[in-house]
Amino acid sequence: MSEFRPATEAEVASIARDHAARGAALSVVGGNTRRGFGNAVPARSMLRSTALSGIVTYNPGEMVMTARAGTPLAVVEAALAEGGQMMAFEPADHRPLMATDGEPTIGGVFAANISGPRRFVAGAARDSLLGVRFVNGKGEIVKAGGRVMKNVTGLDLVKLMAGSHGTLGLLTEVTFRVPPRPKAEETLVVSGLNDAEAAEAMAAAMALSVEVSGAAHLPLTVAWKFLGGKLPEGEATVLRIEGLPGSVDMRAKKLTDTMARFGTVTRLDGGQSAALWREIRDILPFADGTLRPVWRVSVAPGVGHQLVAALRLEAGVDAFYDWQGGLVWLRMEAEPEGDLVRRYIHALGGGHATLVRAAPSARAATQSFQPQPEAVALLSRRVKESFDPAGIFNPGKMG
C-alpha cells in the first residue's frame, strides 16, 4: 500500500483533489493504532496525518489547546501534565486490546470520538472539541468552530467531524478544552454485588450530591485482572471521586455511608485509583492477545446488565460495565453474534453496538457499526456526499 504523509494542508488538499479526480479511494489514518475499527476499506493508498505534527497554541489560562492533528497523544498529554490540565474525556489507549503498535495521534482520538470513564459526567471527546480544520473530499481546506468555549455561530460541523472516522475529511488541526486536572482522587470499592445490584448501587451513588466521576462494575470473571489481582475479593463496583483533597475525603465518607447499605466498602488511595481507572479505560480484561470478538455497547445505564443477562442464556459472553452500566464491554467466546446482540439491544429500548475487535473473517461478515434506520441512513449518506462527493475517504468504513 502506498502511503502519503503530507506536511501541509496544501499538500493534503492536492492529494485529495488528485484522488477525487480519479475516483481513487484513500485510507485515512493517524497513528493507525486503532486499525481494525470499522469495516475494511478497499483502498490502495493510505493518507496519514503524522507529518502534520506539533502543538500550535497552548495557554493554560484559557483552558484551550490547539494542536495539529498528527501530534502524538503522548506529546499533548505531557504538555497538559505540565500545565496541570487534562482532557476531561480520558481517551483510551487501544493498543493493548487491539495488539497494535505505533503512536496514537490527537487527530485520531477526535476522529474516532474516543472517550473513557469520565465521559458519563464530563462529556465525550466531541463535547471537548471546540474547533477543527480539515480537508474535505473536494480538496478544500475548511475550518469549523473556533477556540472559545461557547460558540453557536452557524452549523456545528465540529460535532460531525468528531466520530466520523475519517470518512468526511482529514482533520489537520484540532482545538479542544483542557480543564484543570483534579488535585486528588479516591475510589470506593463496593464488594460482592451481582450485576443487577450493582446497577442499583451505581444509580444511588449518582443521585447523591458527591459528584462521582467514574462508576464501573467489574463482575467476578474480570475483577481479578485489575491492579494485578489486588482488588478486594469478589465482584467490584467501583466509584471514583475527584477534586480538592479535603473535599474528596468528605465526599468519599458521605458516599461510603450510603454504599454500606449495598455491600462491604473499601477505599483505594490516589495512586491505586488512577491505575484502576486507566485499566478500565483501556479495556484491560479483554487485552488478552486474542482476536475473540469484542463489542462496545452503549445503552441506557439501567439496561446494560439486562442485556448481558439475556445474552448469557444464548452465547458464551464475558462482560464488564462502565458509565454507570451504560457502556458494556462484551467479549464473545466464538462468533460475534452481531444479530443476537443487536436484537436484544433493540428489544431492551435501544442503543447500539460497535464491533471493536474481531478476526478478519468475522469482521467481513458483520457490520462494525450498528446499521441505522433507513431515513437516518439516507441523511448520513447525503451528509457524507456533501463533504466527499467522490467518496474517496475511507469508503464503506462506517457502513
Binding site: G61, M149, K150, T153, G154, L155, S164, L208, L379
Partner: protein, 479 residues
C-alpha cells in the same frame, strides 16, 4: 426603526395562494390549532429581537409529532416556507416569520413524557419550558443544567434550536452537552429519532449537528435530556471592584489557578445600577464592576473554594466581598442578574450582543467596547458570563429615533467584528438568526460557509425551513 437587515423576498406564488393554503391547513388541523386572522397573527410577528417584524401567512399550533409532520409534509409539497417557534424569546430574530411563511409553534406540545431518575434522563415534548424540566425533578434532588435567563418562558425546543447556554454552563456545559436524544420531523414530513437514553448514538453525530441549527434542518418535537443530582448547597458571592479591568483580570486568574466555580457573572457600573433599581438585590453601588461568583458543594467545600477565590480577588484590589446570609438573599442575587435584560428594557431600548472571546482578551474587549459605543454617542451596560468569555454588551438607544437606532446597530456590528478579530466568535448562545447573518463572512471564509450550506442541503435542499436566517442571502447557489 429603519430596517437594515433584508429578508428574502416573499414567494409570489405562495402569497397568491394564501386563501387556498389556509383552507388546506384547516383540513389538517383542528380549529384551535390554526391561527390565520390577521389581527390574531400579530403576537407572532416578532420575537425578542423586536426591531424587526413580519406578519406570517398563518400559524400552526400542532399538538403532536403527527400533526407537525402533516403540516411539514404539506408545506414541503407546495413550497411554503416554515418558521419553527418555541416561546419566541430569541434575541437574534431566530423566530421572526416572513409574509409567505407558516409559523410552526410548538407551545401546545408541553407534556413531560418520561422521567427516569435511575438513568437520570427526562423525555418531554419540545414546548416544555426550560424551568419546568428542573421543577419536575427538583423535589427528588435533580436538575437540568442549562439555564438561559429566559428560562421561565423559553422552551426546550427553542433551546435545542439555539444550543442555549446560561449562567451555570461554565461547569455543566450548554444544551448540546446535556442533550441525549430528539424526535425530529424532516422537511418532507419524515419522522426520525436521533439518540435516546444511551450516552451516544451510532453513526455520524447528527444530534450534535441538529443542536444549534436554528430550525434549518428540521423541527424537533420531543427531546431526552440528562439530569444531574443537585449539589448539597450553592452560594453566590458578590465581589466589587473599582474598575472593569480589575474584575476581568481577577476572572482570568481564578481560571488560571485551576478553580472552576459553577458561574462567574460580570456586571459593569451601568448594569449594576439598572439591575439594583429593579431587583433590590443588595448589589454594592459604589463599585465600578461586580462579579457574582457561585460555588457549590458542602459548607466546608464552599468555604475552602471561596477562601481561594477571595485570596485571588484581594490581589486585584477587591473593594467589596459580600456573602449572602440566606437562601432568600441568594435568590435575590440571581434574580437581579437574570432580570438584567428586562430591567434594561424599562429604562431604554437596547440591543444585546453575544460574542465570545478568549479569556485573555476580556479586559481588552471591554475597553474597546466602551470606545466603540462612545464613538457613536451611545451608552452601554455590560452583563455577561465572564468565566467562559461570553460577552453581553447591552447597547442602549431610543427606538423612536431612527438615527440613534441605526447607530446602535452599527455599534453592535463593530463590537461583534472586534470579538471575531481577537479570536472569538459572533455568538456564544443566542444564535445567528437574522441579526448576525450578514456578519457570517467576517468569521468564516466562503469555503467554510459553502460546506455548511452543503450539509444544510442534505436536510432541506429547497430552503423551506427558516430560510431568511443564519446564511447570507447571496451566495446560496451551492445548495
Amino acid at each position: 426603526m429603519a430596517e437594515a437587515i433584508p429578508f428574502l423576498a416573499p414567494r409570489a406564488d405562495v402569497l397568491a395562494r394564501r386563501a387556498e393554503i389556509v383552507a388546506d391547513l384547516i383540513d389538517l388541523l383542528p380549529p384551535e390549532c390554526l391561527v390565520h386572522e390577521p389581527r390574531e397573527l400579530v403576537p407572532f410577528e416578532t420575537d425578542a429581537f423586536v426591531s424587526y417584524r413580519r406578519l406570517p401567512l398563518a400559524v400552526a399550533l400542532p399538538r403532536s409529532t403527527a400533526e407537525v409532520a402533516a403540516v411539514m409534509k404539506y408545506c414541503h409539497r407546495y413550497g411554503v416556507p416554515l418558521v419553527p417557534r418555541g416561546a419566541g424569546t430569541s434575541l437574534s430574530g431566530g423566530a421572526i416569520p416572513q409574509e409567505d411563511a407558516v409559523v410552526l409553534g410548538l407551545s401546545k406540545m408541553n407534556r413531560i413524557l418520561d422521567i427516569d431518575l435511575a438513568d437520570r434522563t427526562m423525555t418531554m415534548q419540545a414546548g416544555v419550558t426550560n424551568l419546568a424540566i428542573s421543577d419536575a425533578v427538583s423535589g427528588e434532588g435533580f436538575f437540568y443544567a442549562p439555564d438561559p435567563s429566559s428560562q421561565l418562558a423559553c422552551t426546550i425546543g427553542g433551546n435545542i434550536g439555539m444550543n442555549s447556554g446560561g449562567a451555570h454552563c461554565l461547569k455543566y456545559g450548554v444544551t448540546t452537552n446535556n442533550l441525549l436524544g430528539v424526535t425530529m420531523v424532516l422537511t418532507d414530513g419524515t419522522v426520525i429519532e436521533l439518540g435516546g437514553k444511551a450516552l451516544d448514538a451510532a453513526g455520524y453525530d447528527l444530534l450534535g449537528l441538529v443542536c444549534g441549527s436554528e430550525g434549518q434542518l428540521g423541527v424537533v418535537t420531543e427531546a431526552t435530556v440528562r439530569l444531574i443530582a443537585k449539589p448539597e448547597g450553592a452560594r453566590p458571592v458578590l465581589f466589587g471592584f473599582d474598575t472593569s479591568e480589575e474584575a476581568g483580570a481577577c476572572v482570568a486568574d481564578v481560571i488560571a489557578a485551576g478553580i472552576i466555580p459553577v458561574a462567574i457573572e460580570f456586571m459593569d457600573k451601568p448594569a449594576i445600577e439598572i439591575c439594583e433599581a429593579f431587583a433590590k438585590a443588595g448589589y454594592p453601588l459604589d463599585v465600578g464592576a461586580l462579579l457574582i461568583v457561585e460555588v457549590e458543594g458542602s459548607e466546608s467545600e464552599m468555604d475552602a473554594m471561596l477562601a481561594d477565590i477571595v485570596a485571588i480577588a484581594r490581589r486585584h484590589a477587591v473593594k467589596v466581598v459580600r456573602e449572602c446570609q440566606s437562601a432568600t438573599e441568594a435568590a435575590l442575587i440571581w434574580k437581579g442578574r437574570k432580570s438584567a435584560f428586562g430591567a434594561t428594557g424599562r429604562i431604554a431600548d437596547y440591543i444585546c450582543m453575544d460574542g465570545t472571546v478568549p479569556l485573555s482578551q476580556l479586559s481588552h474587549v471591554l475597553k474597546k467596547t466602551s470606545e466603540i459605543v462612545d464613538h457613536y454617542g451611545l451608552r452601554v451596560a455590560n452583563v455577561f458570563h465572564a468565566g467562559d468569555g461570553n460577552m453581553h454588551p447591552l447597547i442602549l438607544f431610543n427606538a423612536n429615533d431612527p438615527d440613534e437606532a441605526a447607530k446602535a446597530e452599527a455599534a453592535g456590528m463593530d463590537i461583534l467584528k472586534l470579538c471575531v478579530d481577537v479570536g472569538g466568535c459572533l455568538t456564544g448562545e443566542h444564535g445567528v438568526g437574522i441579526e448576525k447573518r450578514d456578519l457570517m463572512r467576517h468569521q468564516y471564509a466562503e469555503v467554510d460557509l459553502q460546506q455548511m450550506m452543503a450539509v444544510r442541503a442534505a436536510f432541506d435542499p429547497g430552503w423551506i425551513l427558516n430560510p431568511s436566517k443564519v446564511f447570507p442571502l447571496d451566495g446560496r447557489s451551492a445548495a
